[in-house]
Amino acid sequence: MIRQSWWKILAVVLLVYTFTAGMLVPLKPGIADVSPRALQAGTDVEMTITGYNSYYTKAKSDLRAWLKLKGDVVLKATSIEVVDDRTLKLVFKLPAYLPSDSKDDVCSLILDSPVDGAIVLPEGIALTQDSVNLAEGSKLWSVDKMDQLNAGPELTFPYRSVLYETIRNQYFHVPLWFAMLFLFIFSVGFSIRYLRKFDPDADQRALALTRAGFIFGLLGLVTGAIWAKFAWGAYWSWDVKQNMTAVALLIYAAYFILRGAFQDEEKKARLAAVYNIFAFAALIPLIFVIPRLTDSLHPGNGGNPAFGSDDLDNTMRMVFYPAGIGWTLLGFWIAAVSYRIDKLQNKLLDA
């Protein structure tokens, strides 16, 4: 029934893995909110912390927290009250002076728990002092030391304050692009083969691959728009990558219109193959060159971090790469089915 089906089975297995691991692995515990965010030197502050995915009641007395300034200067929280799993109340006794030569400074908050691991809220809290005294400040702040931070739970996805759970879209939105690109590359391969051998079969394959690639591109654009709405604030943010992908889809939409403009099968196949190769060459600057030179909200562009240590840690890689392969294979499956139907149709028309 399913011809040479091993890769289709592989696609299903990889996608099942993607969906289970991608949806079930929890996010790393994080700090969702801190209040107040502006502290005055020389006062006692009670700070309320709202955690995300945290288990404060399990850790209880083993919890520790510090405010951290530049140069590893820390101030330990004097008392920590666990309200519930998601809420903590910390008390900091701030010294009269800051170890800083200006009136304002920013510090980060570090929370350590044997259950959730060490969590850093980077540069989220503002400090102010009325007068500057660097020497006294340095002395006052050098009392506490930060030691032996706990490692968090092993199998987690990174916690990002804007993304939260949507970081899982990495396995559903991003691989669509990989699949689209592979489908287009193979389609160009078949177009080249058509022009060398004038084999109508190659043209049919190129058409089916382009169709599948176009569907994946369209889905990538729509899912990207949804994700953008809740990460960047608008469905269409006029981001370079969004624009370029829309243009790429227009180019390929023109491919289908071009095919529709000819009656003669041979002419249609020949011109479509020529245009497909030309369009793919035009696609390369659109997808690879221009977005990298212009500011973009996407990672990996215009100064944003690439799929580096931060956005794609090892746990995510364990899901992301199989997801990419799985979605790509699914794309080829879709293309194969559509090709076989086209072939049947042509056979019937000829008969």
Binding site: L250, I251, A253, L271, V274, Y275, I277, A282, I284
Partner: protein, 221 residues
């Protein structure tokens, strides 16, 4: 007859045809002037912003070049195509068309610049950079439109098809050109000029190479 003499003969033919009728140049010139006029009267307060000037310039150029290049394949009817086919190398045909269109578009862009400077005022400060942008733009536009016009001429010179096929393809070139030209107005202290020129040259080269490789497949009927 080798390739170069064929190209030379075809170029002379285009030039003679053009000089005899004056159709393309005068038509395009009229088109540019009336577009500038309409657009200028639409912006009541005038075009005082460099970004607006540059965008206006390239949009006029875009439509003017499409009009100019469509003509290059419209005037070739089926019989003449057949005649070329029996006599000439396809490379000679496409190269001569590309060279002719590049010079036509470059001339046209200079005229558009002059017309805009006359009617709206000149916003360009770095002349050499803008001239380079004009040249690279003419090369990119003419290669792309010549190729797409060759495709759409196979579909009975379907001009809708020409627009559908060429507009998405031209967007990356157009965007880079606008960026480069805005740099030439002296409005931006942009260091990326070299990169933009690099992109344009790369796009132009790739398109030219592909046109040369692929045109022989378009040509046979």
């Amino acid at each position: 007859m080798n390739l170069f003499s064929q190209i030379g003969i075809l170029l002379r033919k285009e030039l003679v045809l053009e000089l005899r009728t004056g159709y393309a140049i005068s038509g395009i010139l009229l088109y540019v002037l009336s577009t500038v006029f309409i657009v200028y009267s639409a912006f009541f307060q005038g075009v005082n912003n460099a970004m607006m000037w540059v965008t206006l310039f390239w949009i006029i150029m875009l439509f003017a070049s499409i009009n100019a290049i469509v003509k290059s394949f419209v005037q070739e009817n089926g019989n003449r195509q057949l005649y070329y086919y029996s006599l000439l190398d396809p490379l000679a045909v496409i190269i001569s068309k590309m060279v002719y269109n590049i010079s036509l578009l470059f001339l046209l862009s200079l005229l558009t610049w002059a017309a805009l400077a006359f009617m709206v005022g000149n916003q360009i400060e770095e002349f050499s950079a803008f001239l380079l942008a004009l040249f690279l733009g003419s090369v990119g536009f003419s290669i792309l439109f010549t190729f797409v016009a060759a495709i759409s001429s196979k579909a009975d010179n379907n001009s809708t098809l020409l627009a559908i096929l060429s507009f998405p393809l031209v967007i990356p070139i157009l965007m880079t050109l606008i960026k480069l030209s805005v740099g030439a107005t002296g409005m931006l202290e942009d260091t990326g000029v070299g990169k933009d020129i690099g992109i344009l040259v790369a796009i132009d080269l790739v398109l030219a190479g592909l046109t040369l490789v692929l045109y022989p497949f378009l040509w046979r009927d």
